[in-house]
Protein backbone atom coordinates (compact mmCIF):
# COMPACT_ATOMS: atom_id res chain seq x y z
CA UNK A 1 0.00 0.00 0.00
CA UNK A 2 1.46 3.37 -1.03
CA UNK A 3 2.02 5.88 1.76
CA UNK A 4 0.69 9.40 1.40
CA UNK A 5 2.82 11.49 -0.91
CA UNK A 6 5.60 13.62 0.47
CA UNK A 7 5.87 16.75 -1.67
CA UNK A 8 4.72 14.77 -4.68
CA UNK A 9 6.79 11.66 -3.92
CA UNK A 10 4.86 8.49 -3.19
CA UNK A 11 6.65 6.10 -0.89
CA UNK A 12 5.85 2.43 -0.47
CA UNK A 13 7.70 2.15 2.83
CA UNK A 14 6.42 4.04 5.85
CA UNK A 15 9.78 3.85 7.58
CA UNK A 16 12.36 6.60 7.15
CA UNK A 17 15.73 5.55 8.57
CA UNK A 18 18.63 7.50 10.03
CA UNK A 19 22.19 6.55 9.12
CA UNK A 20 24.01 7.51 12.32
CA UNK A 21 25.50 5.49 15.21
CA UNK A 22 25.64 2.05 13.53
CA UNK A 23 28.46 -0.31 14.54
CA UNK A 24 29.80 -0.40 10.96
CA UNK A 25 28.93 0.67 7.41
CA UNK A 26 28.20 -2.98 6.60
CA UNK A 27 25.62 -3.23 9.38
CA UNK A 28 24.15 0.11 8.31
CA UNK A 29 23.71 -1.17 4.76
CA UNK A 30 22.15 -4.42 5.96
CA UNK A 31 19.83 -2.58 8.34
CA UNK A 32 18.64 -0.25 5.59
CA UNK A 33 17.93 -3.24 3.37
CA UNK A 34 16.11 -5.09 6.16
CA UNK A 35 14.01 -2.02 6.96
CA UNK A 36 12.80 -1.59 3.39
CA UNK A 37 13.27 2.17 3.83
CA UNK A 38 13.26 4.24 0.65
CA UNK A 39 14.42 7.39 2.43
CA UNK A 40 17.52 7.76 4.61
CA UNK A 41 18.51 10.81 6.59
CA UNK A 42 21.96 12.33 6.26
CA UNK A 43 23.83 15.32 7.60
CA UNK A 44 26.76 17.67 7.01
CA UNK A 45 29.81 18.08 9.19
CA UNK A 46 33.10 19.91 9.02
CA UNK A 47 35.83 18.15 7.07
CA UNK A 48 39.49 19.11 6.73
CA UNK A 49 41.48 18.89 3.54
CA UNK A 50 43.24 15.79 4.84
CA UNK A 51 40.11 13.84 5.73
CA UNK A 52 38.17 11.59 3.38
CA UNK A 53 35.31 10.38 5.59
CA UNK A 54 32.68 12.51 3.94
CA UNK A 55 33.66 11.41 0.47
CA UNK A 56 33.57 7.75 1.48
CA UNK A 57 30.15 8.18 3.08
CA UNK A 58 28.84 10.04 0.04
CA UNK A 59 29.93 7.19 -2.25
CA UNK A 60 28.25 4.74 0.10
CA UNK A 61 24.97 6.66 0.14
CA UNK A 62 24.91 7.13 -3.62
CA UNK A 63 25.48 3.42 -4.01
CA UNK A 64 22.28 2.68 -2.10
CA UNK A 65 20.20 4.40 -4.77
CA UNK A 66 17.76 5.74 -2.18
CA UNK A 67 16.25 9.16 -1.67
CA UNK A 68 18.10 11.22 0.95
CA UNK A 69 16.63 13.60 3.49
CA UNK A 70 19.39 15.91 4.77
CA UNK A 71 18.97 17.43 8.21
CA UNK A 72 20.05 20.60 9.98
CA UNK A 73 20.95 18.73 13.18
CA UNK A 74 22.86 20.76 15.72
CA UNK A 75 21.58 24.13 14.52
CA UNK A 76 20.44 26.49 17.25
CA UNK A 77 19.57 29.59 15.26
CA UNK A 78 17.53 30.43 12.17
CA UNK A 79 20.66 31.66 10.41
CA UNK A 80 22.58 28.44 11.09
CA UNK A 81 19.66 26.30 9.96
CA UNK A 82 19.05 28.28 6.77
CA UNK A 83 22.73 28.29 5.81
CA UNK A 84 23.00 24.57 6.53
CA UNK A 85 19.91 23.90 4.43
CA UNK A 86 21.44 25.75 1.50
CA UNK A 87 24.66 23.78 1.82
CA UNK A 88 22.66 20.54 2.02
CA UNK A 89 20.61 21.39 -1.06
CA UNK A 90 23.75 21.88 -3.09
CA UNK A 91 25.52 18.87 -1.61
CA UNK A 92 22.72 16.32 -1.94
CA UNK A 93 20.91 17.88 -4.91
CA UNK A 94 17.51 17.81 -3.21
CA UNK A 95 14.94 20.36 -2.15
CA UNK A 96 14.01 18.19 0.83
CA UNK A 97 15.29 19.36 4.20
CA UNK A 98 14.62 17.92 7.65
CA UNK A 99 14.56 21.19 9.54
CA UNK A 100 15.83 21.13 13.11
CA UNK A 101 16.28 24.27 15.19
CA UNK A 102 17.16 23.16 18.69
CA UNK A 103 16.62 25.24 21.80
CA UNK A 104 17.41 23.00 24.74
CA UNK A 105 20.50 20.80 24.79
CA UNK A 106 19.24 18.46 27.52
CA UNK A 107 15.98 17.48 25.81
CA UNK A 108 16.88 18.58 22.26
CA UNK A 109 13.51 20.32 22.33
CA UNK A 110 12.90 22.31 19.15
CA UNK A 111 12.94 26.09 19.28
CA UNK A 112 9.50 26.27 17.73
CA UNK A 113 9.68 30.02 17.18
CA UNK A 114 12.93 29.74 15.26
CA UNK A 115 11.59 26.66 13.50
CA UNK A 116 8.58 28.52 12.10
CA UNK A 117 10.75 31.44 10.99
CA UNK A 118 13.33 29.20 9.32
CA UNK A 119 10.58 27.14 7.67
CA UNK A 120 9.08 30.26 6.15
CA UNK A 121 12.42 31.49 4.81
CA UNK A 122 13.23 28.10 3.30
CA UNK A 123 9.77 27.41 1.86
CA UNK A 124 9.83 30.80 0.12
CA UNK A 125 13.19 29.82 -1.33
CA UNK A 126 11.82 26.62 -2.86
CA UNK A 127 12.75 24.13 -0.17
CA UNK A 128 10.40 21.29 0.74
CA UNK A 129 10.55 21.40 4.50
CA UNK A 130 10.13 18.46 6.89
CA UNK A 131 10.06 20.26 10.24
CA UNK A 132 11.07 18.42 13.40
CA UNK A 133 8.55 19.86 15.83
CA UNK A 134 6.57 19.15 18.97
CA UNK A 135 2.95 17.99 18.97
CA UNK A 136 1.78 21.57 19.67
CA UNK A 137 -1.23 22.34 17.48
CA UNK A 138 -0.65 26.07 17.23
CA UNK A 139 2.96 25.57 16.15
CA UNK A 140 1.87 22.98 13.60
CA UNK A 141 -0.67 25.44 12.25
CA UNK A 142 2.05 28.11 11.92
CA UNK A 143 4.32 25.65 10.13
CA UNK A 144 1.61 24.83 7.61
CA UNK A 145 0.98 28.56 7.13
CA UNK A 146 4.72 28.95 6.54
CA UNK A 147 4.54 26.47 3.67
CA UNK A 148 5.25 23.07 5.25
CA UNK A 149 3.34 20.22 3.60
CA UNK A 150 4.71 17.56 5.96
CA UNK A 151 4.92 17.72 9.75
CA UNK A 152 7.23 15.63 11.92
CA UNK A 153 6.26 15.81 15.59
CA UNK A 154 8.46 14.10 18.15
CA UNK A 155 7.24 11.04 20.00
CA UNK A 156 9.71 11.81 22.77
CA UNK A 157 13.14 13.50 22.97
CA UNK A 158 15.65 12.31 20.36
CA UNK A 159 17.36 9.08 21.37
CA UNK A 160 15.33 8.70 24.57
CA UNK A 161 13.52 5.47 23.56
CA UNK A 162 10.50 6.56 25.60
CA UNK A 163 7.89 6.08 22.88
CA UNK A 164 4.87 8.36 22.56
CA UNK A 165 4.95 10.79 25.50
CA UNK A 166 1.70 12.56 24.63
CA UNK A 167 -0.73 10.28 22.84
CA UNK A 168 -3.58 12.73 23.40
CA UNK A 169 -1.65 15.56 21.74
CA UNK A 170 -0.57 13.39 18.83
CA UNK A 171 -4.16 12.20 18.26
CA UNK A 172 -5.36 15.79 18.29
CA UNK A 173 -2.70 16.72 15.73
CA UNK A 174 -3.80 13.87 13.47
CA UNK A 175 -7.44 14.93 13.76
CA UNK A 176 -6.59 18.58 13.12
CA UNK A 177 -4.50 17.92 9.99
CA UNK A 178 -6.23 15.07 8.14
CA UNK A 179 -4.62 16.03 4.82
CA UNK A 180 -1.04 16.73 5.91
CA UNK A 181 1.39 13.79 5.95
CA UNK A 182 2.45 13.30 9.58
CA UNK A 183 5.64 11.50 10.57
CA UNK A 184 6.56 10.55 14.12
CA UNK A 185 10.18 11.64 14.35
CA UNK A 186 12.34 10.71 17.31
CA UNK A 187 12.03 9.14 20.71
CA UNK A 188 10.90 5.66 19.77
CA UNK A 189 12.59 2.67 21.38
CA UNK A 190 10.83 -0.53 20.37
CA UNK A 191 8.63 -1.69 17.49
CA UNK A 192 5.46 -1.49 19.59
CA UNK A 193 6.01 2.28 19.82
CA UNK A 194 6.08 2.44 16.02
CA UNK A 195 2.98 0.26 15.73
CA UNK A 196 1.20 2.56 18.20
CA UNK A 197 2.19 5.57 16.09
CA UNK A 198 0.67 4.00 13.01
CA UNK A 199 -2.46 2.91 14.89
CA UNK A 200 -3.04 6.63 15.61
CA UNK A 201 -3.23 7.16 11.87
CA UNK A 202 0.24 8.60 11.35
CA UNK A 203 1.67 8.23 7.88
CA UNK A 204 5.22 7.19 8.67
CA UNK A 205 7.89 6.90 11.32
CA UNK A 206 11.46 8.24 11.27
CA UNK A 207 13.91 6.17 13.33
CA UNK A 208 17.60 6.10 14.00
CA UNK A 209 18.93 5.27 17.46
CA UNK A 210 16.37 2.56 18.21
CA UNK A 211 17.73 0.57 15.29
CA UNK A 212 21.38 1.66 15.25
CA UNK A 213 22.05 1.03 18.94
CA UNK A 214 20.05 -2.18 19.28
CA UNK A 215 22.11 -5.28 20.02
CA UNK A 216 21.24 -6.55 16.54
CA UNK A 217 20.42 -3.53 14.35
CA UNK A 218 19.56 -5.58 11.27
CA UNK A 219 16.96 -7.71 13.02
CA UNK A 220 15.59 -4.65 14.82
CA UNK A 221 15.22 -2.82 11.50
CA UNK A 222 13.12 -5.70 10.21
CA UNK A 223 11.09 -5.81 13.42
CA UNK A 224 10.26 -2.11 13.11
CA UNK A 225 9.28 -2.55 9.46
CA UNK A 226 6.86 -5.33 10.36
CA UNK A 227 5.42 -3.35 13.29
CA UNK A 228 4.89 -0.26 11.13
CA UNK A 229 3.09 -2.29 8.50
CA UNK A 230 0.97 -4.02 11.15
CA UNK A 231 0.12 -0.72 12.83
CA UNK A 232 -0.91 0.86 9.56
CA UNK A 233 -3.06 -2.15 8.63
CA UNK A 234 -4.71 -1.99 12.05
CA UNK A 235 -5.52 1.69 11.63
CA UNK A 236 -7.01 1.05 8.19
CA UNK A 237 -9.09 -1.76 9.69
CA UNK A 238 -10.69 0.67 12.17
CA UNK A 239 -9.83 -0.63 15.66
CA UNK A 240 -12.22 -0.66 18.60
CA UNK A 241 -12.37 2.29 20.97
CA UNK A 242 -11.52 1.39 24.59
CA UNK A 243 -14.53 1.07 26.91
CA UNK A 244 -14.86 1.06 30.68
CA UNK A 245 -17.19 -1.93 31.08
CA UNK A 246 -16.79 -5.54 30.01
CA UNK A 247 -18.73 -6.85 27.06
CA UNK A 248 -18.97 -10.63 26.67
CA UNK A 249 -17.59 -11.82 23.38
CA UNK A 250 -19.63 -15.04 23.53
CA UNK A 251 -23.38 -14.49 22.97
CA UNK A 252 -25.49 -15.05 26.09
CA UNK A 253 -28.64 -16.03 24.16
CA UNK A 254 -29.17 -19.79 24.23
CA UNK A 255 -26.86 -20.36 27.16
CA UNK A 256 -27.74 -23.57 29.02
CA UNK A 257 -29.45 -23.03 32.41
CA UNK A 258 -27.27 -25.13 34.67
CA UNK A 259 -27.70 -23.34 38.00
CA UNK A 260 -29.94 -24.47 40.94
Amino acid sequence: MVARDFYGVELRSRLLLGTSRYPSPKILAEAIQASGAEVVTVSLRRESGAERGGQTFWSFIRGLGLRVLPNTAGCHTVKEAVTTAHMAREMFDTRWIKLEVIRDDETLQPDVFGLVEAARVLAEDGFEVFPYTTEDLAVADRLVEAGCRVLMPWGAPIGSARGLNNVYGLKALRAHFPDIPLVIDAGLGVPSHAAASMELGYDAVLLNTAVAEAGDPVTMAKAFAIAIEAGHMAFAAQPLEPRDMAQPSTPMIGRAALGD
Binding site: S43, G49, P70, T83, E90, F92
Partner: protein, 65 residues
Protein backbone atom coordinates in the same frame (compact mmCIF):
# COMPACT_ATOMS: atom_id res chain seq x y z
CA UNK B 1 46.88 36.13 5.08
CA UNK B 2 45.29 34.58 8.15
CA UNK B 3 41.84 32.99 7.91
CA UNK B 4 39.90 30.52 10.01
CA UNK B 5 38.89 27.22 8.40
CA UNK B 6 36.41 25.20 10.42
CA UNK B 7 37.58 27.09 13.48
CA UNK B 8 41.30 26.51 12.94
CA UNK B 9 43.65 29.36 12.08
CA UNK B 10 45.32 28.88 8.68
CA UNK B 11 47.72 30.90 6.54
CA UNK B 12 46.78 31.24 2.86
CA UNK B 13 47.85 33.46 0.00
CA UNK B 14 45.46 36.37 -0.68
CA UNK B 15 42.92 35.35 -3.31
CA UNK B 16 39.59 33.71 -3.86
CA UNK B 17 37.84 31.02 -1.85
CA UNK B 18 38.44 28.56 -4.70
CA UNK B 19 42.20 29.16 -4.59
CA UNK B 20 42.28 28.81 -0.81
CA UNK B 21 40.32 25.55 -0.90
CA UNK B 22 42.71 24.15 -3.46
CA UNK B 23 45.71 25.15 -1.34
CA UNK B 24 44.11 23.56 1.72
CA UNK B 25 43.83 20.21 -0.02
CA UNK B 26 40.13 20.05 -0.88
CA UNK B 27 40.72 19.77 -4.63
CA UNK B 28 37.59 18.52 -6.40
CA UNK B 29 36.07 17.05 -3.28
CA UNK B 30 32.33 16.90 -2.58
CA UNK B 31 32.05 19.79 -0.14
CA UNK B 32 29.81 22.75 0.62
CA UNK B 33 31.09 26.10 1.81
CA UNK B 34 30.15 29.18 3.78
CA UNK B 35 32.11 32.35 4.53
CA UNK B 36 31.30 34.33 7.66
CA UNK B 37 28.06 32.38 8.06
CA UNK B 38 26.83 32.92 4.50
CA UNK B 39 26.45 30.07 2.05
CA UNK B 40 28.79 30.28 -0.94
CA UNK B 41 27.54 28.12 -3.83
CA UNK B 42 30.19 26.09 -5.62
CA UNK B 43 29.99 28.06 -8.89
CA UNK B 44 30.70 31.34 -7.07
CA UNK B 45 33.77 30.23 -5.10
CA UNK B 46 35.98 31.59 -7.84
CA UNK B 47 34.49 35.05 -7.51
CA UNK B 48 34.50 35.34 -3.70
CA UNK B 49 37.66 37.06 -2.49
CA UNK B 50 38.74 36.23 1.04
CA UNK B 51 39.78 38.87 3.53
CA UNK B 52 42.09 38.63 6.52
CA UNK B 53 40.20 37.11 9.46
CA UNK B 54 37.42 35.54 7.38
CA UNK B 55 35.74 32.50 8.85
CA UNK B 56 35.39 29.72 6.28
CA UNK B 57 33.26 26.66 6.92
CA UNK B 58 33.80 23.55 4.79
CA UNK B 59 31.42 20.64 5.28
CA UNK B 60 31.02 17.20 3.74
CA UNK B 61 28.35 14.47 3.81
CA UNK B 62 28.01 12.73 7.15
CA UNK B 63 25.80 10.17 8.83
CA UNK B 64 22.68 11.74 10.32
CA UNK B 65 19.41 10.96 12.05
Amino acid sequence: MRIFVNGDQREVEPGTLAVALDALGYGNRKIATAVNGRFVPAPTRQSVTLNDGDKVEVVAPMQGG
